[in-house]
Symmetry: C2
Subunit: 441 residues, 2 copies
């Protein structure tokens, strides 16, 4: 058996700890698969003293992760520090410049500086792997980069944030309000104290930027994504979706259109009887439509120490065997500039929820506004919210708003937005219209 | 750019034709990804004269695939002939012995001779790839061999045969009988004139043998699989499953138990509200439970020219980049002998359908037989078949059998079989009891 592959691991938090445990418990199988032993030569973390589940004996300690990255004692630098700039970036650059292979789980770093780091890796003849950066344990990077390399990808989309999917699932299953479920998720540690990064859709957007680049051979363009979070989704929307045969999921979607690439993160309706609708709780999924393969769906854990460590180990084993593909499928210099499609030209069907004042002519005016923009309707439902008592039904009280749900036929984002703005201005609705895109599967 | 990777393709049927089209249409992207052009240097097929969609210009013709396999004009031999022995085997052996990398879609060949061919590949320092042999376009071989190489796999299972899933889905959606749907599937070309290989579960078993080997590091053991087909599934079972919150799918399941490995192919109940229950029509899926990654589910097309060509191309690109893993994850000599678990010791819950004569003491006798074998029941439903008219209800006519559905708590296969044998012998039922295993997800 050949020389061991020597790892330098920077960052010993949840994922780093999971990785050390994996290496310790699976040593024999790993060396058989890799054709050589996998050894942890050096580690770096914020505090050396912290109690850890795994012994650090036999591993050199580095206070400075950048020094570890460039150390002649390692072959592979595993970056688990996190953060889109700063130390993580400096350390990865140092490792690549020293010809070390790099494995990272850092989506923010790659979404911002991916093309530049890929170019660095190629210049120094080494490897940059990041399976753990998107969707945790789901092998979607490998799938796009290797398994589907013979495909022209048409669309990639998925449920990429466990916190949001947990909240939406709870709202659906337990008929509870968004704020209530969010509070519970925070108490359980599924959501951060400041949940904006997750529920605002930004975490999903980071991951989507990497999927888009791999799928379409373009430079990662995180700042070109249309992002909406799930804060505006109410129990009324969840219930209406269910009645209409849909479920609401926060999706990241990247799509090739004639005018460029659509990259969007937003709550979307998906058909109730579909595998993606059954992806519940903190589970993630990624769907890929390729011209040869057709439709592929990968479902699995999107976070957590062990699943993420599994993904990191996959990258390490690939390096041990050699023959790594280009970080973004094609040489970094061949990555195309990103052309953003105008979201206004997005074509699709829409769910709309209106709180309509119950007065003569209101519905006619609303229908008229839709007609002006050539938005045709597939269905209209006036619905009483679940639990509302007969007798105090809003419809019986003139002047009180009634929930009205519309499903449109395919139209453009521009048209539906203009129609809804006009409806809002007309004053027949008591609040800003709710609009959710329907994503065809 | 380096020298082209020269392919020799044997077999120009559906998949071979799909592969030639893929290479023709995606040439630029393929050579970018591979770092070198992908060229078809030679081909072989049964009849040279046959009209083909793709031009064979610039490719040498070989009447004998074995000669193509060993020809100095190729680097990679792509075997799309099929068949577990004969020409396909001879050609693959010739290619490996000549140091050529081999890509094959031949599940029968690998299920029977996989370990031996892997050893040959290692002896001659070359590669044996077979992504297309299991579940068509779903990259499950790569996932087990590479992405999950850091995992100890506990179970792998899936819907591996599109014909069976198409039939079961149609029976479910359209309330039609097995024979009726099978006839339609044959007319549409989804099922063969002799459908035994598919509906009897043997196609699933071939694929399962390969998944088992990759998951557990054992020699492929196709002849050690317990195989049941879907011929015995009736509309009554489909309806009862639906009422009880399940769907019936033909699964291939491989599971590590204390006494060895369970490999079984049989119709199974899966929970209605699960992603796997929503895998419908000819779509396939594979679920993998790993100790690090947790539960992963891959869903996609299990057959067809383009999806299979996509998988074959993935194997070719891996070879172009070099650094291929061992065919079965670990060196062939390290593959463990297969230890078969006794199916009698299988533990699980069961669905049972009985046609019970409506006479005093019948149900008591049945319950007694279950009790003798310590089989406890979760639920008992006497149900009238859908569409049966009130007034001629079987329950009203003494002596006429009534369908009775039982769901057991967890028990052993031995116990339930013994109880059902006794129930059958007692003569309170008009036909052999139906039994379907419930697979926990």
């Amino acid at each position: 058996m050949s020389q061991p592959l020597r790892l330098g691991i920077a960052g010993l938090g949840t994922v780093g700890g999971g990785l050390l445990r994996l290496i310790e418990t699976h040593a024999t199988r790993l060396s058989e698969t890799a054709g050589r032993p996998i050894a942890v030569a050096g580690v770096s973390a914020r505090t050396r003293a912290k109690a850890r589940a795994t012994k650090l004996e036999g591993m050199s300690w580095f206070d400075d992760p950048v020094a570890l990255a460039a150390s002649p004692s390692i072959d592979v630098f595993v970056e688990l520090i996190g953060g889109g700039d700063g130390t993580a970036k400096a350390a990865v650059e140092a490792a690549l410049a020293a010809g070390k292979a790099v494995v990272t789980a850092n989506k923010a770093l790659l979404a911002r500086h991916g093309a530049e780091l890929a170019r660095l890796a190629e210049r120094y003849g080494t490897t940059l792997n990041f399976e753990a950066a998107v969707a945790g344990g789901i092998p979607v990077i490998k799938t796009l980069r290797e398994a589907l390399a013979g495909n022209r990808i048409r669309r990639v989309y998925g449920i990429l944030n466990g916190t949001c999917n947990y909240i939406l699932t709870k709202m659906q299953d337990e008929h509870r309000a968004f704020a209530d479920v969010l509070k519970e998720a925070q108490a359980k540690g599924y959501a951060e104290a400041d949940p904006t990064f997750d529920i605002g859709g930004f975490d999903t957007a980071h991951k989507l930027a990497l999927l888009t680049s791999l799928a379409f051979g373009t430079r990662p363009a995180f700042d070109q994504i249309d992002v909406e979070g799930i804060e505006g989704i109410t129990q009324a929307d969840i219930e209406a979706a269910e009645d209409l045969g849909y479920r609401i999921k926060l999706l990241g979607v990247a799509l090739k259109t004639e005018s460029g690439i659509e990259q969007r993160v937003h709550p979307a309706m998906v058909p109730q009887h579909s595998a993606i609708a059954e992806v519940s709780g903190v589970t993630n999924c990624v769907a890929i439509d390729g011209d040869s393969v057709g439709n592929l769906l990968l479902v699995g854990p999107g976070a957590g120490a062990s699943p993420t460590a599994s993904a990191v180990m996959s990258d390490i084993l690939d390096i041990a065997r050699g023959g790594a593909p280009y970080p973004f499928c094609v040489p970094a210099d061949r990555l195309q500039p990103y052309t953003r499609a105008t979201l206004g030209r997005h074509q699709g069907a829409y769910y709309v929820r209106l709180a309509v004042y119950d007065r003569p002519g209101a519905m006619a005016a609303i229908a008229g506004r839709m007609g002006e923009r050539h938005v045709s309707l597939e269905s209209i439902v006036q619905r009483r919210p679940r639990g509302a008592q007969i007798g105090i039904n809003a419809r019986g009280q003139p002047g009180e708003p009634t929930p009205v749900i519309l499903i449109t036929h395919e139209t453009t984002e521009e048209a539906i937005r203009a129609a809804l703005d006009a409806i809002h201005r007309d004053g027949n609705v008591s609040e800003k219209p709710q609009m959710v895109r329907i994503e065809p599967l």
